[in-house]
Symmetry: C2
Subunit: 200 residues, 2 copies
DNA sequence: ATGGCTATAAACACAATGTCCATATATTTC
DNA sequence: GAAATATATGGACATTGTGTTTATAGCCAT
């Protein structure tokens, strides 16, 4: 159990909106990261925030939207894609960091659940794309574009496809876990793709 | 609304187990393929099958297990991986068929929802691995192994990783749809990986 | 035919959703 | 400072779904 200082039973009446909103986001993030998406309910978030369910329904259109806001409130944006000029090294480093994040942190272990829930929640699907996947994908695509312009990649390669063959492969092992997600895997992804797996 | 001939109100008392079971599976498959996983509830399956909820709870331990059984009842196994001896052509053909299945059929559109639900249902996760992903992955791995033994692939390549860089990339575009899943994409996947995307 | 197995209806407790209301009060406006 | 506005609140409600218990009814094998 994560020990919130207080469930804080409040009196009736209005409180500053910003404060309530902050409290709700904190509660949503905490519940999501400790209990996971299966146990994430509007009711529990409201109780944990010491707020009324009606208030949540007023501001968030769906459970998914609330969960994602709670996720970012707890985790922060954390976007970075260092560019050293060596695309092979940069991709490997970035993928290893991603593997570490997904395997060894609470935030990482929750993300597959959010993606999973998005499969039946169009609201969350759109938000996840806008605020999570699209910005991250864009960073990788830009790095690959720069590498191509430096002459490190073939001219006819579509960076968008490359992203799917690197990060998409990792998500595959996360979401459909037949095989483990390891550092060696991350390294093999880059090796295979840059050098090619074909003979001659 | 899908118009079943009759909700068929039956009297109390026992009916042949096999018949009930068949009817439940049919109902589960129908509901899953027409309404999707979000609307898939034990209650609706029971009503559609003209069966008692208690009967469902007796035979299926979870909603996910019932959904997967219904899926296979409706779709069938459909496993095939033709091997013409040309690994590039075989992979491309197989991936194009996969893209078509996922994009243009009801069964395909439901699979991401099952994978999504599995993220918060360990029962379904295990069943999906055993009965869906593992057998399919094994077929692809075997084909790649044979190609390597024919000398069409580098000796040091791990077929398991290659599978993630081909099918995993497709699942990525299915589950986190930033970019469209197209035939051209399927072809680019094989091209990139066999020839490599690096310069020189 | 008889006894065991199993499907059935009905009822229950529970949890969660989503929407009402009337009331209380912080903040804004005059 | 007083009035108006916005908004959070508890409590209530109907609805849906879960998962279980109970007593009853009928198929099937022996």
């Amino acid at each position: 159990m994560t020990q919130s200082p207080e469930p804080v039973r409040r009196g009736r009446g209005r409180r500053p909106a910003a404060e309530v909103r902050r409290e709700i986001l904190r509660a949503a993030g905490e519940l999501l990261l400790t209990e996971g998406m299966a146990a994430f309910t509007i009711e529990k978030v409201a109780a944990l925030a010491g707020a009324s369910r009606v208030t949540l329904y007023k501001w968030w259109p769906s459970k998914g939207a609330l969960a994602l806001d709670g996720y970012f409130d707890a985790v922060g944006p954390t976007l970075a894609f260092p560019d050293t000029g060596d695309i092979a090294a940069d991709l490997t480093a970035q993928l290893r960091a991603f593997v570490h994040l997904m395997r060894d942190t609470r935030a990482g272990r929750v993300m597959p659940e959010l993606v999973g829930h998005a499969q039946t929640d169009p609201e969350l699907s759109a938000l996840l794309r806008e605020r999570y996947s699209a910005p991250r994908r864009a960073l990788a695509v830009e790095a690959l574009e720069r590498a191509r312009q430096r002459g490190q990649l073939r001219e006819d390669v579509d960076p968008e496809v490359v992203v799917d063959q690197l990060w998409g492969a990792c998500y595959h092992r996360l979401l459909i876990p037949d095989q483990p997600l390891t550092d060696e895997f991350a390294e093999a992804l880059v090796r295979n793709l840059l050098a090619g797996i074909g003979r001659r």
